[in-house]
Symmetry: C2
Subunit: 260 residues, 2 copies
């Protein structure tokens, strides 16, 4: 009897050659048949953007000929990559989509700006169980080794248990040695925001321009949040949904005199 | 006694010269002091993208010198425009941010791809009451006149009542004559998705490329949904949140053997 391995779609937002996706591919090759469809250039902060006013290129590539996965490099956003994979490249619906491992945090409100998480959410919208993984280290030299064991455990749990309809997982991993990671905590998204600073400069033609930067402000000290877990040595797992309805306020707003 | 008018930030994703934002500005000028910070080019489908790997330009412009509002044209995404407005342009926190009126629907899952709604959500994250408006007509020649009365009513209600913390409004308006609009319904986001079709072509150099298009599939027949309201002649108002946590599944996933 042939036991079919799960079909796993891998993508990210740092681009197909980023160390984070290479680490994720190496773990997924231990679990299933892997197809990579990832951006040909960095797409950090692209959120749930899709390319509708421009063309898309998507090419079969071989990044390392000793590895078994099939790989495609795509000119679009992370969400484009998932759509391209599921509608154009794959013969069947994948059993799982994993995105990352992102170089940098996607905890708290970062989930909404994150190309990594938007790719996972897009897979979720298409009914594919999906997980976004992020390591709290922005460096391109980040060490992904301590994360690998936990990535494998979480993926195996999702394959074994499935995910509730309409839910994907947002997994963030602290920048710690493996021995210092205390375990995995299922959390809620902390209530936090960015306070932007615009760095104003003048270009050689005398025109003013800006670089966007900012500070992350966490105003939520709850011990059930992803921020608390990460600050205390745990890997955070937030079940994340794409029904954005604030159901609890429908009745209240329905009492407004909107039809008077 | 000087009565201070509300300070209203106006943005959109179709670009600062789109007829939809011009209609929205004309209504807002009846209500408050208006500052426009909007993209210098179409940004549809940009979702919650922010510009972190490129520079931003933002210039004071005069689109119509007979109108009282101040206007700024920005090279970034709709979310960039909101950040630029609140951190760089405005002297004080606006009393309201309105985005649109979008040329085309942002009902159901479209909320997540929409630059219009992402601008409103960004304002919400910054604690500014915010509303995204969309008309179900993609044409640049769309007629925004029937929408104006309802836009004004909804804005006046939000200014009078405020919005719950963490909630913005997603307002969609059917393409109907004013007499045929039945009223306003507060709804939940319908459970729907897109099935993409990639239109494959070959460029003059022989390289294959794609255009993303697709069909919108609504699998949700609930009469409490935005899709139902719009199909039945109502304006839909969905209270929309940016805490993406699927709180109801935290306990279930916590029972997985993630720490064994």
């Amino acid at each position: 009897m042939k036991i079919e391995k799960p079909l796993i779609l891998v993508t990210n937002d740092d681009g197909i050659t980023a160390p984070g996706i290479r680490a994720l591919i190496s773990v997924m090759n231990q679990i299933g048949d892997v197809v990579v469809v990832a951006p040909d250039s960095p797409q950090s902060g692209m959120g749930h953007a899709v390319t509708i006013n421009n063309t898309l290129f998507c090419d079969h590539v071989v990044v390392n000929q000793n590895e078994p996965q099939k790989e495609y490099s795509c000119s679009g956003t992370p969400v484009d990559c998932v759509k391209m994979a599921s509608r154009q490249i794959l013969d069947r619906k994948p059993d799982l989509c994993v995105s990352g491992i992102n170089h940098g945090s996607n905890s708290a409100i970062n989930v909404i700006y994150s190309g990594t998480m938007s790719a996972a959410v897009e897979a979720g919208i298409e009914g594919i169980p999906a997980i976004g993984f992020s390591l709290l280290d922005y460096s391109m030299k980040a060490n992904f080794e301590p994360a690998k064991k936990y990535v494998k455990t979480i993926v195996e749990n999702v394959l074994a248990n499935g995910l509730p309809k309409g839910v994907v997982l947002n997994v963030n991993i602290p920048k710690l040695a493996e021995k210092d990671i205390k375990g995995v905590k299922v959390c809620r998204q902390a209530n936090a925001h960015w306070v932007e600073e615009f760095d104003k400069r003048t270009n050689p033609n005398g025109r003013e321009y800006y670089w966007l930067s900012g500070k992350f402000i966490n105003e939520d000290q709850g011990k059930d949040t992803d921020e608390w877990a990460l600050q205390n040595g745990y890997i955070s797992v937030v079940p994340t949904q794409f029904d954005l309805t604030a159901h609890q306020f429908i009745e209240q707003i329905n009492n407004w005199p909107l039809n008077d």
